[in-house]
């Protein structure tokens, strides 16, 4: 007999406090639909119930579950300004059944929303630091509330740089906002994998943009969201510049059905992406990150 790990006795359960059903969505009205890139639109939603609307708050990096009857439910990060939580932007690419159904809806229609869920970007931990924000494709969506929040409190941070790339110029998100971000003292560097005849900017993959900047490794935090292969090389470039592992944060994606830790789908090693994620500290997940088919 070898008992290594504790196996506590099962307890008789006391009558628990009846918590609200976390799986029930609330109706929300589509206030606006704004195409932001090829096949990608931002849906601005507003809870129908005034009490819910008044109570709702989110932090940059958190997500909502959007439910479309008969189609299903998906996790979409909130991409709008956290200081205006009555109007919730969700930047959605048409990728599957639910997102294509959503794309057919019009302003004035309703969808089901529950949230916000997940671990946000660690704004408190990175205060006073220089920030390198690295995004690929639609990975800029969960970083936009972070950028907007930084712009509101710009003095609280050191140098702030956004390194952003997408496959083609037509796939770049929020390009109409870049000038405003730059005015607010957020440096924006953009690249595309494949230019078109009008493209005069850099061509190449996102991690290469690191060569356009110099960082003070001890004073810098990296926050990244994009395809995992991109994030792998972002981490590589960051570590090559002596940025500590625990100063790197990434936002991950996994299949998700419940967003509250019951369905088991979003497990990534010891973490549930819906609970400890989507924003994870690299030091914590290093042994698992990039592991094939993990």
């Amino acid at each position: 007999m070898s008992v290594g790990l504790p196996m506590p006795e099962p307890q008789r359960m006391l009558a628990s406090q009846r918590s609200p059903d976390p799986m029930l969505p609330s109706p929300a009205l589509i206030e606006a639909i704004k195409p932001v890139a090829y096949g990608i639109s931002t849906f601005t939603l507003r809870f129908v119930d005034p009490a819910e609307r008044a109570e709702y708050r989110f932090q940059p990096g958190q997500f909502n579950m959007l439910y479309l009857p008969g189609a299903g439910e998906i996790a979409i990060s909130v991409s709008s300004d956290p200081d205006e939580p009555q109007l919730l932007g969700h930047t959605v690419r048409q990728a599957g059944n639910v997102t294509r159904t959503l794309a057919r809806l019009k302003v004035g229609h309703q969808v089901g929303v529950r949230g916000p869920y997940g671990n946000p970007w660690p704004l408190d931990k990175v205060a006073g630091k220089s920030l390198v924000i690295v995004a690929g494709g639609i990975g800029l969506a969960p970083l936009r509330p972070l950028i907007l929040s930084i712009l509101h409190h710009r003095a609280a941070y050191g140098r702030v740089v956004l390194l952003y790339g997408a496959r083609t110029p037509a796939d770049l998100l929020y390009t109409d906002e870049f000038a405003r971000w730059q005015e607010g003292n957020v440096e924006v560097h953009v690249t595309v994998d494949l230019g078109d005849e009008h493209w005069k900017g850099q061509v190449g993959v996102v991690p290469q943009l690191f060569y356009r900047i110099r960082v003070e490794p001890k004073e810098t935090c990296v926050m990244t969201c994009g395809p995992e292969i991109m994030m792998r090389f972002v981490i590589y470039e960051a570590l090559a510049r002596r940025i500590p592992k625990d100063a790197i944060y990434l936002s991950m994606e996994r299949n998700m059905k419940c967003a509250v830790g019951f369905c088991g789908h979003c497990q990534f090693g010891p973490t549930f992406i819906c609970k400890q994620g989507p924003v994870l500290n690299y030091a914590r997940i290093e042994p698992f990150f990039g592991k094939e088919d993990f």
Partner: protein
């Protein structure tokens, strides 16, 4: 004169036939009795009315990939080990409607599902399965969010536990400290002896359930026989699972060659996850009417062995059986501990018995522990 009901934590003896009085009492107080019964050549869990529904005189033999019922000469009601089903299907049903939605002119109305949550009395819960319930308690009630469907069922449950007097060849509860003796979390715990049941009273509700049943305090002789019976079961356990180096050992061996070897045998059929009393994964299904104006949303059991389990846009995260078996085992015996402070295995052996090709997780863990020369 003895009081009408025994005090909590006392041990009493009742004649075997008197268990029917306890059953009647439970039914009269509103419980639906769920217990073991023979069906389709297996001992399954279903609603029972009385002693006559229990598998009297039946036992089972279990081996990796093999389960057979046999007649015995012993007149025992609980002379078998765990069958394919666990209590999970009653507390965390395989299909459960969450809500329904109606859409009118683009507006949504969400209605909570109004399905009943009966008060169950679980008859014959083994120590391993009682621990499994404790583990699912942590999953569904122990975190930031609580599952109200699980909570409603769980709060009402009456647990009549049974100490194992016999171990199956696939059992390994003693390695995990989860059995064979029931130690807590029950209302009543029985040990079956040839002519009597020794009954330990675990709660006020358990004590109350004995009202009207003829009982006597257990003698040292009765208690000794009961203890011996359980010790005999423990002595029969042949399989072992070492857990002192978990979860690290698994995390250190994510690229071990053994994963390829087990993947070549594993059919990815998901049987192990369906019979497992702690596996909790679910997916959701929407059934809409043809006009698309209303939909029912249902939660159903899922399995990490299902190909689409990890599907995200662009493909599956775990397309190979190797990756899916690795996910299952490293979760059950590894990351479960990081997530819930407890392992996800209770040593019931169901995943070994009900694996069509007889994969034995205790063997796999042993093999993963072996150093491989590259």
């Amino acid at each position: 004169m003895s009081p009408e009901t025994p005090r909590v934590s006392a041990s009493v003896v009742i004649p075997k036939a008197s268990l029917q009085v306890v059953f009647d009492h439970l039914r009269a107080t509103g419980f639906r009795l769920i217990g073991p019964t023979v069906r389709e050549s297996a001992i399954v869990l279903d609603e029972i009315a009385g002693l006559e529904d229990l598998p009297l005189g039946w036992t089972d033999t279990q081996e990796p990939g093999r389960y057979r019922l046999q007649r015995t000469r012993a007149a025992e009601y609980f002379g078998f080990t765990v069958g394919p089903q666990s209590w999970k299907q009653f507390l965390h049903p395989a299909r459960l409607q969450l809500f329904s939605v109606e859409r009118k002119n683009g507006d949504l109305t969400v209605r909570k599902a109004q399905e009943p949550a009966p008060a169950y009395a679980f008859i014959g819960v083994r120590a391993c399965d009682l621990h499994a319930i404790g583990i699912q308690d942590r999953v569904f009630l122990g975190g930031e969010f609580q599952d109200p469907h699980y909570a409603r069922r769980r709060e009402q449950v009456f647990v009549l536990a049974v100490n194992c007097r016999k171990a199956g060849s696939t059992c390994f509860c003693s390695s995990l400290g989860t059995g064979p003796r029931v130690k807590g979390g029950f209302d009543l715990a029985l040990t079956e002896l040839p002519e009597i049941f020794v009954v330990e009273i675990g709660s006020e509700a358990g004590s109350e359930a004995l009202r009207g049943t003829p009982w006597e305090s257990a003698t040292a002789f009765d208690l000794g026989r009961a203890t011996q019976a359980v010790q005999r079961a423990e002595g029969q356990i042949v399989r072992q699972l070492r857990t002192d180096d978990l979860p690290k050992m698994l995390y250190d061996n994510l690229d071990h060659r053994r994963w390829d070897e087990v993947a070549a045998r594993c059919l990815s059929c998901a049987n192990c996850t369906q019979v497992c009393p702690t596996c909790f994964c679910t997916t959701v299904e929407d059934a809409s009417n043809l006009k698309g104006t209303s939909a029912d949303r249902t939660r159903v059991w899922d399995s990490c062995f299902v190909r689409d389990f990890s599907h995200v846009h662009g493909g599956n995260i775990r397309p190979s059986i190797r990756s899916r078996y690795r996910q299952w085992l490293t979760h059950k015996l590894g990351s479960w501990f990081d997530q819930f402070g407890i392992l996800g295995c209770v040593g019931c052996g169901r995943c070994i018995t009900w694996c069509p090709v007889g994969i034995d997780l205790t063997e796999e863990v042993k093999a993963l522990r072996e150093k491989v020369t590259p």
